[in-house]
C-alpha cells in the first residue's frame, strides 16, 4: 500500500457571500504499509477535510490523491472509515452492522457470517451478536464500528476521532485494542485525534496541522507505540520523561494556534 497526497488544496466556497476559505493548502503526505499516521491540530486546521479527501468524500480543488498508483476519485472499499459516532445503523443488530459492508458488496450470507465471526471474536463482541447496537455502551459501539471497517479488508483504515466520545478509562483500553489490531492485521491507519497524549502513544508518525489555511506545520517520528507493543505497559510509556517532553512540545505548538484565534 502506498498513499501519495500531492499538493492537495481544498477551497470551500464562501458561506452567504463570504470569502472562500482555504481549508487545506498544498498538502503533501506519503503513507506506506504499516504506517500509523496521526493528525492533530486545533479545530479548523483541516484534519477532517484531509481524512475526507483520502476517503474520497471530497475532491481536491488542486493536486491529487494517489493510492497504489491510481488517482482516488471517490470512496471505495480499499479505504474504510471509522467515525466518531452516529455511524452505526440502529435498525440492524451487532452482527448485521458488522456485515453491512460485505452485504453491500453482495457477499453470500454464509461467507459474511464467517468473516463477521472472526472480527466479533477479535474485538471481544462475542455474546452480543444479536444485541441492538443502541443498547451497547459507547466503547462497544465503537468496537462494532471498527469491526465493520475491518471486514472488507481495506488497505487503509481511516479513523476520524474514533475515541473522542468515550470516557477516559474506556478510551485508554480502546487505544491499546487498536494498537494490537494494527499490529496483528498489518493495516495502515490514518488517525485523527484531539488528544496529544493519544496521538503520541498511538502513531508511528505524527503530523501537526495549523488552521487558516489548513496545513501541515510539523512532522514527528514516534517510538512509543513500538515500546508498548514490545511489552512495556501503556501507563509506563505515557509517563516516561521522553514522552512528557515531546507532549509538552506539541501542546505548545497546538496552543499557539489556539491563542492566535
Amino acid at each position: 500500500m502506498r498513499l501519495n497526497i500531492e499538493n492537495a488544496t481544498v477551497i470551500y466556497p464562501g458561506v452567504e457571500g463570504g470569502l472562500p476559505t482555504e481549508a487545506l493548502q498544498q498538502i503533501n503526505l506519503t503513507m506506506d504499509d504499516r504506517d500509523f499516521v496521526v493528525a492533530i491540530g486545533a479545530s479548523g486546521c483541516g484534519k477532517s477535510t484531509l481524512l475526507n479527501l483520502i476517503a474520497g468524500f471530497l475532491a481536491p480543488s488542486e493536486g491529487r490523491i494517489m493510492l497504489d498508483g491510481a488517482v482516488v476519485e471517490g470512496p471505495g472499499a480499499d479505504r474504510s472509515v471509522v467515525f466518531q459516532k452516529h455511524a452505526l445503523l440502529p435498525w440492524l443488530d451487532v452482527r448485521d452492522n458488522i456485515e453491512f459492508g460485505l452485504m453491500l458488496q453482495g457477499h453470500e450470507k454464509k461467507d459474511r457470517n464467517k468473516v463477521a465471526d472472526r472480527f466479533i471474536k477479535l474485538l471481544g463482541l462475542s455474546g452480543f451478536e444479536d444485541s441492538p447496537v443502541y443498547a451497547l455502551s459507547g466503547g462497544m459501539q465503537q468496537r462494532v464500528g471498527i469491526a465493520r471497517a475491518l471486514t472488507c479488508d481495506p488497505k487503509l483504515l481511516l479513523m476520524d476521532e474514533p475515541l473522542g466520545a468515550l470516557d477516559a478509562l474506556t478510551r485508554e483500553t480502546a487505544q491499546e485494542l487498536i494498537l494490537h489490531l494494527w499490529h496483528d492485521t498489518g493495516k495502515s491507519i490514518f488517525f485523527i485525534t484531539h488528544s496529544v497524549e493519544e496521538a503520541l502513544f498511538m502513531g508511528t508518525r505524527l503530523i501537526v496541522m495549523s488552521p487558516r489555511p489548513g496545513r501541515i506545520t510539523h512532522e514527528f517520528n514516534l517510538p512509543f507505540s513500538k515500546q508498548f507493543l514490545d511489552g512495556i505497559s501503556a501507563r509506563t510509556v505515557k509517563a516516561s520523561p521522553e514522552f512528557i517532553k515531546i507532549r509538552e512540545e506539541i501542546l505548545a505548538i497546538v496552543f499557539s494556534d489556539v491563542e492566535g484565534v
Binding site: 455511524a87 435498525w91 453491512f100 459492508g101 443502541y134
Partner: protein, 293 residues
C-alpha cells in the same frame, strides 16, 4: 441542672430528626421527579378520570333536564340508539355496513396515498428536480380545506366512489408525502458516508440507509395522514352517498336525530383511535430504535 435539660433536649431532638430522616427514606426517591425533563410521567389515570367526569357532567345535565334532549341527548340514549341501529340498521343498511363502507373509503384512500405519497416524498427528498416539480402543486392545495374543492371533484369525477375516495386521498397524500420527504434528512452523514466507503451505489444508500432511517418520520406522517382521512370522511360522504358513517351523521342531522349524530361521531372517533393504537404498536415493532441513537 439546665445542662442536663439541654442534653436531654438535644437527645430528643436528634432522635426526632433521625425518625424524620428514616421516614423520609421509606419512600423511594424518584429521579427526575422534580428536576427532570418537563412533561414526563404517566397520564392514564388522569385521562380516565377526565373521561369519567365528562360523562358524569353530561349525564347530570341531561338527567336534571337542563337541556332539551333534542340538543343534548343523554348518554344512555346514545347507547340505546347504538344498539337499536346495530339491530335495525339505518336507512335500510345495517350499522356494520355503514362502518365497512366508510372504512373501505378511508383505508383505500390511505393505502393509495401511502403507495404513491411515500415513494414520491422520498424522491422529492432525494432529487432537487422532483422536489422542484412537485413542491408547488402540493404546497398549493395542502392548506385548502377539502370542502372547498369537493364541488370540483364532483364536477370532474362525478358523484360515484371516485370523487369520494379521491377527496380523502388528497387529504392524506400531502402529509404523507411531506413526511417522507423530510424523513430523507434523518440519515446521518456518517451513516451515508459509511455506506459509500464500502462501495455502495446510490440506490443501495437509498435502500439500506435513507429508507430505514426515514421510517420513524414516515410512520408518524402516516398517523397524521389517516387522521386527516377521517376528518375528510364526512365531507366526502356529503354528496350522493347512501351508505357510510359520515352519511349517517349528515342525514340524521337533517332529521334532527341528535342521538344518531352523536353516536356516529363516537363510532368514527372509536375507529380512528383504535387504528392509531395499532399504528403506535406498529411503530414500536418496526422502529424500536426511534430516538435512541
Amino acid at each position: 441542672m439546665s445542662d442536663q435539660n439541654n442534653e436531654r433536649g438535644n437527645k430528643a431532638q436528634s432522635a426526632i430528626s433521625a425518625l424524620i430522616a428514616k421516614l423520609a427514606r421509606q419512600r423511594p426517591t424518584r429521579p427526575g421527579e422534580i428536576y427532570g425533563v418537563p412533561g414526563s410521567g404517566n397520564t392514564i389515570a388522569l385521562s380516565l378520570a377526565t373521561i369519567a367526569i365528562l360523562l358524569l357532567v353530561w349525564w347530570l345535565i341531561t338527567a336534571l333536564g337542563w337541556v332539551k334532549p333534542l340538543f343534548v341527548p343523554s348518554p344512555q340514549s346514545i347507547v340505546i340508539k347504538f344498539l337499536h341501529v346495530w339491530k335495525e340498521g339505518f336507512t335500510g343498511s345495517p350499522l356494520w355496513m355503514h362502518i365497512l363502507i366508510s372504512a373501505c373509503r378511508v383505508f383505500g384512500a390511505f393505502l393509495l396515498a401511502c403507495v404513491i405519497g411515500i415513494p414520491l416524498g422520498l424522491a422529492m427528498g432525494m432529487s432537487p428536480f422532483i422536489r422542484g416539480v412537485f413542491d408547488p402543486p402540493i404546497e398549493f392545495y395542502r392548506p385548502i380545506p377539502p370542502l372547498a374543492y369537493l364541488p370540483l371533484m364532483i364536477i370532474w369525477f362525478g358523484i360515484g366512489e371516485t370523487s369520494k375516495v379521491l377527496l380523502i386521498f388528497l387529504s392524506v397524500f400531502a402529509p404523507v408525502a411531506l413526511g417522507a420527504r423530510s424523513g430523507v434528512r434523518s440519515a446521518g452523514i456518517e451513516q451515508i458516508h459509511a455506506a459509500y466507503s464500502f462501495g455502495a451505489t446510490r440506490w443501495q444508500v437509498l435502500r439500506h440507509v435513507i429508507l430505514p432511517s426515514a421510517m420513524p418520520e414516515i410512520l408518524t406522517a402516516m398517523r397524521i395522514g389517516i387522521g386527516f382521512g377521517w376528518t375528510t370522511l364526512v365531507a366526502a360522504e356529503m354528496v350522493a352517498a347512501t351508505r357510510g358513517i359520515g352519511y349517517m351523521v349528515l342525514s340524521a342531522s337533517q332529521f334532527l336525530q341528535t342521538p344518531v349524530v352523536i353516536m356516529g361521531i363516537v363510532v368514527i372517533a372509536g375507529i380512528a383511535y383504535l387504528f392509531d393504537l395499532l399504528m403506535r404498536l406498529t411503530e414500536r415493532r418496526v422502529v424500536p430504535w426511534k430516538g435512541k441513537m
